[in-house]
């Protein structure tokens, strides 16, 4: 059992506050992805959980034990680093065995575990090699095998796929998902790649400016962004935002159309819609097409509506050219509203 609880964790580097006050509970065997742009604090949070950095404030609990004062080796974690950190002076076998030897396990047990994890990661043929004789993808496999061999309660991964080329990344992603699910560990995975986050996570914690802005299952994060940032960060192309003006009780005027919206007295709110939730119709936003980009099954249309840029993903059979006028109608149950003052979603 390795539930992880992060309570009010803050980290200050001199004048810079990397983490404000993070609260996050991760259940046993859950796969949580920390997602955010560089500098959002996701790696700092991971390093604090690992024990490689200490929090300025707050507590970290793993498996019901407070660990924030303990060194990394006493936390029951293993970590996979961005640059793999495979020891160059040791063979692949000794790399994977490194942590087991530190635990003074018997040689037979060491060999058994190394062989087994090497098989899982498909590197059983490389055990006698040194890191200098391996490709990037193979080093990545060694790093994961080394972490798995420890049979930890928690595996922490810091952008493990970011140094691989696109095809290899796709392959490793699918493989990692299977391997980690089978290993029954709790996993925290840091990435800036939203596709990676979507495909791997049980739950995504979106981070921005040292805060977790939303922690929810992937589809929930995509469909119901809790904050404007989440909508603008997740999804490619991102969500469209249009300013809304009050037009009576629960009615809002957006680019010449009136919608039923939140019944609240808010000075500034925004209307939001995903690009794939806009469809050509007789009644809708009057848009002038600026750019048309064919994407195979779809076309990505960049248009302006009342002076605001709007993107729509439309069927590729549609013949559109820059300068054309088109009427786009939003799918009504996909419309979301954001309060511009708090930047939060309005329920």
């Amino acid at each position: 059992m390795a539930e992880i609880e992060i309570k009010g964790v803050a980290k200050v580097f001199g004048a810079f506050t990397a983490l404000h006050s993070i609260d996050l509970t991760i259940s046993d065997r859950e796969f949580v992805v920390l997602l955010g742009a560089s500098g959002c604090g996701k790696t700092t949070l991971l390093r604090i959980i690992a024990g490689l950095d200490s929090p300025t404030k707050g507590e970290v609990w793993i498996g019901g034990r407070r660990v924030d004062m303990l060194p990394p080796r006493e936390r029951g974690i293993s970590m996979v680093f961005q640059n793999y950190a495979v020891f160059p002076h040791l063979t692949v076998f000794e790399n994977i065995a490194f942590g087991l030897r530190m635990q003074r396990l018997a040689q037979a047990e060491v060999t058994r575990r190394v062989t087994r994890t090497a098989e899982i990661m498909h590197i059983e043929g490389l055990l006698k090699r040194y890191s200098g004789q391996l490709s990037g993808g193979q080093r990545q496999r060694v790093a994961v095998a080394r972490a798995l061999a420890m049979e930890p309660d928690v595996i922490l991964m810091d952008e493990p796929l970011s140094n691989l080329d696109a095809l290899l990344r796709l392959e490793m992603r699918a493989e990692l998902k299977g391997v980690l699910a089978a290993s029954k560990t709790t996993t925290i995975y840091v990435t800036h790649d939203q596709v990676e986050a979507m495909s791997l996570a049980d739950r995504i914690a979106v981070m921005h400016g040292g805060d977790i802005v939303q922690a929810a299952p992937p589809v929930e994060v995509y469909r119901n962004p809790a904050a404007r940032f989440v909508g603008s960060f997740i999804g490619n192309p991102p969500m469209n935002f249009l300013p809304a003006a009050a037009a009576g009780e629960g009615c809002w005027q957006v680019a010449g159309l009136t919608f039923d919206g939140p019944r609240a007295d808010l000075p500034q709110i925004e209307f939001a819609i995903r690009p794939e939730d806009l469809h050509p119709a007789d009644h809708g936003f009057l848009a002038e097409v600026r750019v048309v980009e064919p994407l195979g099954p779809h076309i990505l249309v960049t248009a302006t509506v009342a002076g605001v840029v709007l993107r729509a993903v439309l069927d590729s059979t549609l013949a559109l050219a820059p300068g054309d006028h088109i009427t786009l109608s939003p799918v009504s149950d996909r419309i979301r509203w954001f309060d511009l003052n708090t930047q939060k979603a309005i329920a």
Binding site: G51, L52, R73, M79, F81, N83, A85, H89, M102
Partner: protein, 272 residues
């Protein structure tokens, strides 16, 4: 003049400069070797032969000369002590510079280099007085202390660049795999740094081996080879000078040649 002629002329100047530099370094070493390996009669005679006669009489005479063997032994002792002390003090400093941010780091790095700004003659006299007062005068240990001071900046800088070249991630990986800080250093950093540390040690050895001024001022009975030769230079016969010179130059040359790639790394020219 066409472009190719200009380039060819430039090439010629470059080659000439390289040849000149090589001659500048190699001719004295060549003369030293030839004369050291010739019979005493040939050393004083003229014209010289291109190949030495490999007569070991000069060397034998040199080694048999009163005081030479003990001076040689003193040199080795001082150099080994210098080597040990320079690495013992320099490597931790280099590690700290490479791994930690601490207040005054820039100043510290500057001061390390600054120690070489004071001319040794300026320091030698006060040092001699101090050494006499504390009883370190004319001892191998006292001289090794002075040589350590000379070698330390290089030891710090070489090990600093060495440790900087070993990713910190490797140590962190070791920490997550069950090591404490000391174990992470011993099991991961040290094996990777060992060849470079050895090179830095050899460099300290050579600095001490070649140093003459402090040795001449601070020792009387327990002279090192350099100080001994300096003292007896004008009174000793030519074969002795050549053999002594060769005995001084060759080990230094051999050592430096063996560890050259690590010394280049110190200046950031190449790393491995």
């Amino acid at each position: 003049m066409s472009e190719t002629t200009v380039r060819r002329a430039g090439n010629r100047v470059f080659v000439a400069a390289v040849v000149l530099a090589c001659v500048w370094v190699l001719v004295p070493i060549y003369l030293l070797l030839v004369n050291a390996l010739s019979a005493p009669a040939e050393v004083t005679g003229f014209p010289k032969r291109f190949w030495p006669s490999f007569d070991l009489a000069s060397i034998r005479f040199f080694l048999g000369f009163r005081g030479v063997t003990s001076a040689l032994w003193n040199s080795v002792q001082v150099a080994v002590l210098t080597m040990v002390m320079a690495i013992a003090a320099g490597a931790p400093a280099g590690y700290a510079l490479a791994r930690f941010d601490f207040p005054g780091k820039q100043l510290f790095r500057f001061m390390v280099v600054m120690t070489r700004a004071f001319p040794l003659p300026l320091l030698a006299l006060p040092l001699a007085v101090l050494f006499i007062r504390v009883g370190l005068d004319d001892t191998v240990l006292g001289l090794a202390f002075v040589h350590t001071t000379l070698a330390l900046p290089f030891a710090v800088l070489i090990t600093y660049s060495l440790f900087s070249g070993i990713p910190y991630e490797l140590e962190e990986a070791a920490l997550t795999l069950g090591c404490n800080r000391v174990q992470a250093f011993l099991k991961v950093v040290l094996p990777l740094a060992a060849p470079g540390i050895a090179a830095s040690a050899v460099f300290a050895f050579v600095i001490s081996w070649n140093e003459v001024f402090a040795s001449a001022v601070l020792t009387i009975e327990h002279r090192t080879l350099t100080a001994f030769l300096l003292q007896s230079l004008d009174v000793s016969p030519l074969p002795l000078k050549f053999a002594g010179g060769a005995a001084l130059v060759l080990p230094a040359l051999g050592f430096i040649f063996a560890v050259r790639k690590y010394l280049f790394a110190m200046w950031g020219i190449a790393n491995r």
